[in-house]
Amino acid sequence: MNGFIEPIIGRYVHVEIDGEVNRIYFEENGSGIPLVCLHTAGSDARQWRHLLVDDEFTRHFRVIAFDMPWHGKSNPPDSQYGTEYRLTTASYTATIRAFCDALKLDRPVVMGCSIGGRIVLNLAIEHACEFRALIGLEAADFQQPWYDTTWLNRPDVHGGEVCAALVSGLIAPGGPEVARQETLWGYKQGGPGIFKGDLYFYRVDGDLRGRTGNIDVNQCPLYLLTGEYDFSCTPEDTLRTAAGIPGAKATVMERLGHFPMSENPSQFRRYIAPVLHDIIDKQKL
């Protein structure tokens, strides 16, 4: 409808991370339980725009999605221009905690996808008491690499094109074509070397095998959901991870791949709605 203005509000918050103030862009809508959403590697928070305008969810949740530093509308930290970007378990964890602290969120729910799903596991390991619930999409403690990340940032290959082409295979076939293209557009717009830098966390620094067994879901419920067409973080990877965490709930999502919230929002909704309802129900106990 011409002239329709979406209810999403986008603002910047100044967040001190590791001693430096970062100007972080975030979008939000709704009220209630804070629900912080983490985008995938090499993309940005636009992936969550459908969840952000969901009438039912935003009646119960203050849905917040932010662009990580170096991504989307969150610039690199002032001191870091010209350096090689590398996300680590420590820096990713610090960024999420600092963002939640800056907004003074009271025990938010955090939902992350891909690298966001991996870091959710680390939040469950190290900081469970700070969160009401944790949701990992396309999450596992480890997964086998399937390409050489040096192809992502070199002068003789277009970075945007190769990043998008690589992840295009992680989208389930048969979904809405526009949603597929929009998901890939995020990858075509990433800064040079940023996807690769995110994957340093995923491939090198963030191996959580052997550390997830101590996660206490009684302190903080943990939900893991993975698309059947995700051959990067496969359903088997997620189920193996969940099997080592007593009480973790794992779901394989049909007709979805690595980007459930953006590649096929209506299909994803079928799976995330029961999780969010479960979290609401637990608040009533």
């Binding site: 086998q144 399937w146 290959v157 082409a165 295979g169 067409y229």
Partner: protein, 147 residues
């Protein structure tokens, strides 16, 4: 004929005949001619490569995104910059309108050991979406009677 279709011991997810896979692969040049968007996507691409079923690969000469020659291997002393070869079972699955999970992408097939990628990979990676779409063209014809 249905009776001629085989399920291989490697757990191939869809029935197929190796000959049907080869015949379907041979349709790619004609299908590309009819796809202006894909041809345009490859307009900066000039390469000689070896593509196709592992049992019968083809030498392709691509110029400005158009296939100007395609001939079955082996050809005496014909060179290529890179090759992508997949099992007939892999192509049969990849060409389904709704390919089974894990058989739906060229690099999913390499990860599961159903395809091999060799040689100088630069032209393949620099034009990755082109090659994914090029090798998916027979999907449009509903390979194997796929709905």
């Amino acid at each position: 004929m249905e009776s001629e279709r085989v399920r291989q011991d490697d757990g191939s997810p869809v029935p197929f005949t190796p000959d049907a896979v080869i015949e379907a692969f041979k349709t790619i040049p004609e299908l590309l001619i009819r796809d202006e968007v894909l041809t345009t996507r490859g307009r900066w691409l000039d390469v000689d490569c070896l593509l196709g079923p592992s049992t019968q690969p083809f030498h392709l000469a691509i110029r400005a995104g158009r296939i100007v020659d395609m001939a079955p291997a082996p050809m005496l002393m014909r060179s290529w910059r890179f090759s992508y070869r997949a099992t007939p079972a892999a192509f049969a699955a990849y060409w389904q309108r709704m390919p089974p999970a894990g058989w739906h992408d060229l690099l999913a097939l390499t990860k599961r050991g159903q395809a091999t990628l060799e040689g100088d990979l630069h032209p393949f990676m620099a034009h990755l979406q082109y090659f994914k779409d090029l090798l998916a063209l027979p999907r449009r014809n509903g390979f194997g009677g796929a709905p």
